[in-house]
Symmetry: C2
């Protein structure tokens, strides 16, 4: 890894980390998402193995995992091919992380928040119906962290994530709960942008409204309050990038 100026990976062994398969998964996954194979044909498994300095078993297992995530498809004689992005599983945290790491386009950030604006208000409404005491406690804890973060006593991003994740969890709906990982992955990876966008102190007051609505078992109020929070973020994003597509 010193003077090597090769474009091809070609490192004989491992900066793949302790686990070769998972390291290779990460490398290839990132390469696919970065678009490195959009023009070129995807290598054969033998070439992949040689380029990364691992055995074909490891290669095959990594390829199989990428297949399971919708990024690849393998057939005899035809070879292994990259699937169109429409079949990638965006709700897989690996795929999402690769996409966010590659360039973090404002488009992707907007699309992600368009998802949040649908899911989180409804999740808050559900939470208002079914949340238990422990759920409320977690939501309170998240809110308190946000308040602490206002005075520099906690990390604002992590506090925000804790709050939103607590609400999704309180919905008691597996689909919403699943989105915990998606939301926290996306928020954490896109720190650069979110920092510019967030940081307004009105935030905490608006979050408190959500909490209160859930505690008061008022689904409609919870939905509206949460929608305002994410709508604000979305508005800021769209301001920065007026014309999409």
């Amino acid at each position: 890894m010193t003077g090597s100026s090769h474009l091809i990976i070609d490192e004989p062994a491992a900066q793949l980390g302790r686990n070769l398969t998972y390291g290779l998964l990460d490398n290839i996954g990132r390469a696919i998402v970065t678009g490195q194979f959009e023009k070129a044909v995807f290598p054969t498994e033998a070439e992949l193995a040689k380029q990364h300095g691992v055995s074909r078993s490891v290669t095959r297992e990594a390829v199989k995992m990428l297949t399971a995530k919708g990024l690849l498809s393998a057939r005899p004689r035809q070879g292994t091919t990259v699937q169109p992005t429409s079949s990638w599983n965006l709700f897989d945290t690996d795929v999402l992380r690769w996409m966010l790491e590659r360039k973090l386009s404002i488009d992707l950030l907007r699309q992600f928040n368009e998802l949040r604006v649908a899911v989180e208000p409804e999740g808050a409404a559900l939470a208002a119906t079914v949340a238990g005491e422990d759920d409320l406690a977690r939501i309170d804890a998240g809110l308190e962290r946000m308040q602490a973060a206002e005075h520099g006593l906690d990390d604002p991003l992590e506090a925000d994530i804790a709050f939103h994740v607590a609400i999704l969890r309180a919905s008691k709906n597996p689909f919403y709960i699943q989105l915990r990982d998606v939301v926290s992955t996306a928020l954490r990876t896109s720190i650069r942008f979110t920092n510019r966008i967030k940081g307004r102190s009105a935030d905490v007051a608006e979050h408190a409204k959500v909490r209160d609505a859930i505690a008061a078992r008022d689904p409609d109020a919870a939905r509206i309050a949460m929608r305002r929070i994410i709508g604000d973020v979305l508005g800021l994003i769209e301001d920065r990038q007026p014309a999409g597509e």
Copy 2:
């Protein structure tokens, strides 16, 4: 089902289909989701291979795919273990299909529609903003199929799916588009229930309202109309099962 009274699978070879790996993936995935390993410890890769009459390579690749979908986790010495359901990727169509096939609980159906009631209205609103001519054409086509189905000239379920999928696609948001597969998989697999629930002729009129709102570029109207459609379904489900959990 016939005379075989073995609990263990133990078939020496393949009713796994042409592709052993994918057949094994399906078998093990279904077994996990069915809860066959909740009490018992998960077999070692050697045992798995022997039980299914395949090589360890095939076993390992199937296990790796299940790992990628969040169902399994493998570590040396500790063995391969089934992950808690909270880490399963429900937005993976395989996982979802296995879950819907296993027993199709009303709970799962309700939770799925709780997701739809969040996503699809917002998707319709987005579509009203960004849909192109081709998108509108697809939505119209879906609506026409529903009208045809009213007179027995088309399959009502497939027509319904086509309509909803067309709208998700028209949103131009990859996250929403991704849910196409989820929605169609779930609707198609849960025919038994949806047949009982749907089939009211008011449906087509309500769907037409969504279409008109999108064509008129009216996001709010589209959101409200779509919300009513899915809210109706949700109401019927909750009627059947008053107390959840």
